[in-house]
Symmetry: C2
Subunit: 339 residues, 2 copies
């Protein structure tokens, strides 16, 4: 392989992302300087937040520029090294983007370049032990502050982050209710992830079902969805509830501004809090989270699943799987196996 | 005076409150039992939250029932006492409602019956040192947690609570920007209450003016208004901003559900928090707040103003002054002077 296949951002999206938003390009494999490594991407991570990176607006990271390779987390393998800490063949987690090869200078800040610990597979490094798992861990524990016996409601519960957040709540002794779309996802949540109850938003009235399934009201709402789901949850918050704003996927592809919930005053009546966060801020405490998560995986308390697509040509379409709800767990795409 | 004049809730409002929502009634002056006192109301307090008490819905206090005297805070004078701690002539703060006389059994929980400290006038007891001032104090300090040098934005800034909240922020070393309606209120805020800057929402583009007047963005937003004002403020919050939800007067008379802000995701991007509170929860710490507030008044750092209407027949219309923005400072109505 002499060329570096790339998908670059060609046109900013309006509504759902299409293939037209990207342009396929073949570039030379980058050459590296002293202190750099060349990483060959093996697995790409797909996350709802990437949709926001495509917009030309101020956010927690700068927008991907037009003509730039689409930004994405990845696990790769060191193909060439001019850095003492990395040798050819090492598996690493980085932000490799939608391309085969990326030159990285370690130590240049988030998300940097991190070797995979022994026993951690690439899918785990991008999912349950990656940004996804850390988002669930810090959002639930630091902002949600769940106490044993409390009721925790999770939207996007079958998604990569929601499924981990709900299970951590269960591990912490909470009653956990998930909201997900479709019978298969709901069954997985109760039977495999051992949520206490689940609401199928595609087939049930979410407001009614929260009322029925959360008789003691909702102490922590971990929200990945926003919109009408957030509004329904706010109807049932308990005194001093914590609403963890992790994401708002319901509006990510909206072409007009989406109104917020009509019932924000419930935050006043219930003396409740709604708070947002970005996992980047917790990166210096990752070790604690990874240790806990890995321990729970090993003890069987925490399950995780990945949806692994394949084929460089399928990268743009794979992003949309997140927004059509087709993904089952963490959305990944495999470019190659480790050599 | 042998009769107890009363305004009772006759019909629940739809939209703005009208005189038809109440019925005038004359009842016998209540007789009291051992352990009770008879209070003659001198001043009634009008607060936006009273509009919510008229609705038949779950809230932080039960709704006022149809046929019941409209609930309102008041300062009165003990007209008759069968309780050792109170003697005839004592000035007290209680929840006397829209009537001349009320029988109270002290020690029955919030808001109980509290003697006015020496030197505290009835308007002060209901305003800057009453629920209004305490709301500003605890909302700003406990939830807002302003730090010296930070920018604090206050909506409803010329109102009873907003004006106190903004001045406390100034006392704590913050740059304070107020949002109010009309040139007179704005002038009072800058010239008398010494806000650093002010936005006239009736004559200026709030979003543009926040951007211009808060170049370092908004660290604390103390919101009494909600709606489009909240949305504009959310566009300009700083990292780790605190949005203190004190009230949402813009929607209190709405006849249809009012959508929330389109930009709640800014809470995520900016790792910010939006939190509601009810001053009732702070009543056991009132002494600390009153001591601080009184100290600032005496030192000239804190000014307050009251809008005192008169006439029992004008009680229902006086409530609406809050919603048409006619009140200048704390809205009161005087029934009688202390004897």
């Amino acid at each position: 392989m002499n060329t570096n296949r790339q998908w670059v951002l060609a046109k900013r999206p309006h509504g759902m992302v299409t293939r037209d938003n990207f342009e396929y390009r073949e570039s030379p494999i980058p050459s590296i300087s002293d202190g750099e490594v060349l990483v060959r991407n093996l697995y790409l991570s797909f996350d709802p937040t990437q949709r926001g990176w495509m917009e030309d607006r101020e956010s927690y990271l700068p927008p991907v520029g037009l003509g730039e390779v689409m930004r994405a987390g990845s696990v790769g393998q060191i193909a060439e090294s001019r850095h003492a800490d990395f040798k050819v063949g090492d598996l690493v987690q980085t932000t490799g983007g939608w391309q085969d090869f990326v030159a990285v200078r370690p130590g240049m800040g988030w998300p940097g370049l991190n070797k995979l610990p022994p026993g951690v597979t690439p899918p785990m490094a991008l999912g349950v032990l990656g940004v996804t798992g850390l988002t669930a861990y810090w959002g639930l524990l630091d902002l949600g502050q769940p106490k044993p016996g409390e009721t925790v409601l999770v939207s996007g519960a079958a998604g990569a982050t929601g499924s981990i957040a709900g299970q951590i709540a269960r591990i912490k002794g909470c009653r956990v209710v998930g909201i997900a779309g479709g019978a298969d996802k709901c069954r997985w949540l109760t039977d495999v992830a051992r949520f206490d109850a689940v609401i199928d938003y595609k087939n049930e009235n979410v407001d009614d079902r929260i009322r029925a399934l959360c008789p003691d009201r909702v102490d922590v709402f971990f929200d990945n969805v926003g919109g009408s789901i957030l509004e329904a949850a706010l109807n049932h918050i308990n005194m001093r509830a914590r609403v963890v704003l992790c994401g708002g996927i319901s509006a990510y592809n909206a072409t007009t501004p989406q109104p917020g919930p009509v019932n924000l005053m419930n935050l006043v009546i219930m003396r409740a809090r709604m708070e947002g966060f970005i996992v980047i801020d917790y990166m210096n405490r990752s070790q604690q989270a990874v240790t806990d998560l890995l321990g729970w995986i090993k003890s069987g308390e925490l399950v995780h699943q990945e949806d692994v697509q394949e084929g460089f040509e399928n990268i743009p379409d794979t992003l949309n799987r997140l927004f059509t709800g087709r993904n089952v767990g963490k959305q990944l795409l495999k470019l190659a196996e480790p050599s």
